[in-house]
């Protein structure tokens, strides 16, 4: 090895230049985005979100039967706008929790897996700054995947089936422009509980330090919630489940739209978000990093 003159008593240039507060959170955020961009898993997820709706429409087009039992299933050959709504109904079952937990469930536990907590926590950033930078990155990825899936579903339906008017849930035909707007609005409502699931995955990732638990946990919890909603259980409990707000978009497709479930779902999701992130933040701040 050859060495150059090592820096000595000069003040730490890197540390001196390090920005304070929110700018440090942005630094962590950019760092996480760069890491996510380099990972095959995240690129593969985005590719699937982009391609899967087109494959679905092509496969459906080759079948004479339509999935009549599913919301908007009977109209998937009649209007391209039915495709994204049909897929939205399907995705809320378990796809959304999986999409968000692929990153959120691993973003903290991955540092345990690679033993890299000590690498990043010895660079003069606080655990709080690292927590928020990572959480924002996980949330961004969740929003990005659902946005890609929404736009891809809409594009697949319109390009491969057509932009015929869509029959709403009250039985009246919605003109193409209005149908497109409602489709996007319906997908947008899914973002609220999606972020609740993101927070749940973040919490599991921090608390268990295990990527598998962080990724599978929210999917299992989401399925259990779905299962409960199919049972004849208490309405009060059902309204408190994070899976319930995924159905709030139904009210938008009525002749007389109703928004009650949306607001209720937003409150429930916010509750999950706040509680899960508070638990995760507290655990991360107090944790002794002994591994790696």
């Amino acid at each position: 090895m050859t060495t150059t003159a090592a820096p000595n008593a000069a003040p730490n240039a890197a540390s001196a230049a390090a920005p304070p507060g929110r700018a440090r959170i942005r630094t962590v955020y950019r760092w996480e985005i760069a890491k996510l961009t380099a990972q095959m898993r995240t690129r593969a997820t985005l590719t699937v979100c982009l391609v899967a709706p087109f494959l679905f429409v092509v496969l459906l087009d080759q079948q004479s039967q339509v999935p009549k039992d599913t919301l908007f299933g009977r109209w998937v050959h009649a209007s391209g706008f039915a495709t994204p709504l049909f897929l939205l109904g399907f995705a809320t079952q378990w796809v959304f929790p999986l999409l968000t937990s692929i990153v959120a469930g691993d973003i903290f536990a991955g540092e345990d897996q690679y033993g890299t907590w000590k690498t990043i926590l010895t660079r003069a950033h606080s655990r709080t700054q690292i927590f928020w930078g990572k959480t924002l990155a996980a949330g961004s990825f969740a929003v990005l995947t659902v946005t890609v899936l929404a736009l891809s579903s809409l594009a697949a339906g319109v390009l491969l089936v057509g932009h015929q008017p869509l029959e709403g849930l009250s039985g009246t035909l919605l003109p193409s422009g209005r149908a497109a707007g409602l489709v996007l609005a319906a997908w947008a409502t899914a973002l609220i509980p999606l972020l609740g699931f993101t927070a749940l995955a973040v919490m599991l990732s921090v608390v268990t330090c295990n990527s598998a638990a962080g990724i599978v946990g929210p999917v299992v919890i989401g399925l259990i919630m779905q299962l409960y909603s199919f049972l004849n259980g208490s309405d009060a409990v059902r309204h408190l489940l994070l899976a319930t707000p995924f159905d709030a978009w139904h009210g938008l497709l009525r002749d007389h739209p109703y928004y009650g479930p949306l607001w209720q779902g937003a409150l429930v999701s916010a509750g999950y978000l706040a509680i899960c992130l508070a638990v995760a933040h507290t655990v991360l701040r107090r944790r002794d990093i002994t591994g790696g």
Binding site: A9, A14, A34, Y114, L121, S126, G292
Partner: protein
């Protein structure tokens, strides 16, 4: 006003359940020192360093780094400090260079400044030609060197290295020690943790020896040498009985029966030389003379593992220095 020491620990305690990993440790590293923390595995060295880096919190005591504390200054405590605890870890799916770029960004460096600094530190650790390879394909030694490079990126005043030669092959150990010595020679304060007496003796000015979480010795390497017992040799001669008789005529020579049917010789080097010459003059041939335990190694075992039954020859053991009480200067 005198400059604050690089590290100043007082009464530091860390418990994990019933286990006290660090037990009222006092330790002080002055600016510009090359300081060793020596101890067997489980002595509490790494726990101490993890507390220094803020990875774990002490249960009691105080730890100042350049006059700053985690309780008061938070992560700013690490301004001017870099290093690694146990083996350095990186993201295996990124190249060595990309890892360094992200770490430089973490430290607030802009892209141009970071690129120059990364080129420099990669050259220092001889990794420039493998910088674009993914870290997942690096050998253990390359990751150790990348860890040093990542530390130098912060332009530290205090470099903390935990077992830097651990897991390296002999050539890697030689290179790593040479690198640390060159860095130390440039005036950097170095805190080196090791379980290897030779390594600390070769590199460090001062040392704290830890055993079972407590300070067993604190002082300079020279002071440690002064307290070390005489070297122990295994001796085989053509006539062991006469050799034993002759030893009785040489003050300072301790010669006893060795368990493997040879003799155990313990004496200061010059006294041993005189005795061996006398053996030759008496017509007694020396058939084997093997160094069993080096003096410092022998002292290390006595300090850290008094129950150890080995060639350290407890019978000839020197008194254990009572350095604990005065460990904190």
């Amino acid at each position: 006003m005198a400059a604050a020491p690089a590290v100043d620990a007082r009464g530091l305690v860390k418990r994990f359940g019933d286990l006290t990993a660090v037990d009222h440790v006092d330790l002080r590293v002055e600016v510009g020192e090359v300081y060793g923390i020596l101890g067997p595995n489980g002595a509490g060295k790494t726990t101490f360093l993890r507390m220094l880096f803020g990875l774990i919190r002490p249960d009691a005591g105080r730890l100042d780094v350049f006059g700053r504390t985690w309780a008061r200054d938070g992560p700013a405590t690490l301004a001017g400090v870099a290093g690694f605890v146990e083996s350095p870890r990186f993201y295996p799916y990124l190249s060595g260079r990309r890892n360094l770029e992200l770490l430089a960004g973490f430290d607030g460096a802009d892209a141009a400044t970071a690129a120059t600094a990364i080129d420099r530190v990669l050259n220092v650790v001889d990794l420039a030609d493998r910088a674009t390879d993914k870290v997942g394909g690096y050998s253990f030694g390359m990751r150790q060197r990348l860890g040093v490079a990542a530390s130098l990126l912060r332009e530290p005043r205090l470099l903390v290295l935990d077992e830097p030669a651990n897991g390296l092959d002999p050539a890697g150990i030689r290179d790593m020690r040479a690198l640390v010595k060159r860095l130390a020679a440039s005036g950097l304060t170095v805190l080196l943790s090791s379980h290897n007496m030779d390594e600390v003796e070769e590199i460090c000015d001062n040392v704290t020896i830890m055993s079972a979480g407590r300070v067993a010795f604190h002082g300079s390497i020279d002071a440690l040498r002064a307290q070390a017992p005489d070297p122990a040799h295994r001796l085989a001669t053509s006539d062991d009985e006469r050799a034993l008789d002759l030893a009785a005529e040489h003050p300072g020579v301790s010669l006893t029966r060795h368990p493997d049917a040879s003799l155990a010789l313990r004496a200061r080097a010059d006294v041993a030389d005189a005795y061996l010459i006398a053996l030759g003059r008496a017509g007694i041939a020396v058939r084997e003379l093997t160094l069993e335990v080096a003096p410092l190694e022998s002292l290390f075992f006595m300090l850290t593992d008094p129950d150890r039954q080995d060639a350290g020859d407890r019978a000839a053991a020197a008194p254990v220095p009572s350095a604990r009480a005065g460990a904190h200067r």
